[in-house]
């Protein structure tokens, strides 16, 4: 056991030396960012600290953004499957906005382990027309007429059953 630990620590020392050789400024005169670039000596005369503003750009990289960035332009679906909304909104009596994270607002829900439902949120315009179309679509898909609950105030429709993938694709095809 101790022999293997010793051999491991030896290999580690060798590896660390290799790694250090790569990063040690003495052996890499052209190292990026490890040399001390100076210097704004403070007027107070304390010689113990060097102040510098050169490397602050590395700190700026670490600050988290406070706003959600706008997604870059993609022609059609992105490699991960994410599809941007169409540039012109579809000419339908209703509109479904994208969520804060630029996704289609269709969510599946389970209550008590066996009650499945799907929620379509952020609906504007004629909700009842969308409700009718959703019912027709799901009738064609499953052969059953699923019960739905329309909430006009919040602009949402809750459908009984788990259809989040199907409804997402259906809405994406419409161009929302």
């Amino acid at each position: 056991m101790s022999a293997s630990v010793r051999s491991m620590s030896l290999t580690f020392c060798r590896a660390a030396r290799v790694a250090f050789r790569a990063f040690n400024p003495a052996t890499r005169p052209l190292s990026t960012g490890y040399c001390l670039r100076t210097e704004i000596r403070p007027a107070g005369g304390s010689r113990d600290i060097i102040e510098s503003t050169e490397e602050f750009r590395f700190v700026e990289r670490l600050i988290p953004p406070s706003r959600i960035p706008a997604p870059p332009k993609h022609d059609g679906p992105a490699p991960s499957g994410w599809t941007p909304p169409s540039d012109t909104p579809p000419s339908l009596p209703y509109m479904i906005r994208r969520s804060r994270m630029h996704n289609v607002p269709v969510y599946s829900d389970i209550k008590h382990g066996n009650q499945h439902s799907t929620l379509i949120r952020k609906i504007e315009g004629d909700i009842w027309a969308l409700n009718k179309e959703v019912k027709e679509f799901l009738l064609g898909l499953t052969g059953k007429d699923p019960p739905t609950q329309v909430n006009e105030i919040t602009g949402s429709i809750r459908v009984k059953g788990q259809f989040d993938k199907e409804l997402k694709d259906w809405l994406l095809n419409k161009g929302f």
Partner: protein, 296 residues
Amino acid sequence: MSLIKKPGGKTIEVVKNLPRITLANLRPNPGAKTLEKRRGRGMHGGNRSGWGHKGERQRCNRPRLGFEGGQTPFYLVIPKYGYNANHSRQPQYPPLSLRRLQYLIDLGRIDPSQPIDLTQLVNGRGVEIQPQKRDYGVQLVDEGADIFCAKVNLEVQAASEKAIAAVERNGGVITTSYYDPRSLQILIKPVPFFMPGEPIPKRLFPGEDLLPYYTDANNRGYLADPDKIQTARMDLAKKYGYSIPDISKDTLFEMLVQRKNPRHIFFGLSPGWVVNMADKKILKPTDDKVLQYYGS
């Protein structure tokens, strides 16, 4: 012989001549149903109705299953061992799938033109790491390896072989490195660490148990020999059947080759430095002993 076999046999003839089945004619098989015990209907009026005499039994206030009157119960006396021993102290590595990474890059939450390490992943709200819950970093999982097509300089804490192959196949570079819990907390939330003005500590090396993992070239460990990593890249390409793109001819070659010093937590910021967020300055020590300590 002209015996025609009818489906159902003789039973169907019998059943056809029996009276119609109604609710009045139904009966379960003998022995199928047992009558439930109903308390308080005994011969002598019930009295205590089968509940006993006073106490927890009659008052329906018995303690939980397994309680032994205060003696340490059997299920607590026996210790956990083997797989379940010290389960709450085991290091955990929340997974990051290649599919999620591709999604984050597609939505612009992570910039592939800069090295991607855990700070960038957390800033893009891609993963959630809780160092206080024994998370030691993020592990790259190969779900979505066939969809992945981004060229990245990735630094994670663990990676599966297929995930490494998927990253390198697209011309990227992947490294696995170790962060001790204090360094990890600083890495995921750098700004709350910089605000009080503490000097950046140096990153500790992995312990005995994790050292073999990070010195192995097959895991692209940050302490492994760079030559062995090159041979491992070529072996992996042969194994999975793709050709390694030559990254030295890439425009982003300098960015892809960038790697952190094993003792540094951040790119470009040495241990021992203090960051002044308000004045946007960095304070560096000049004392020999301090520099020697932080440089070791």
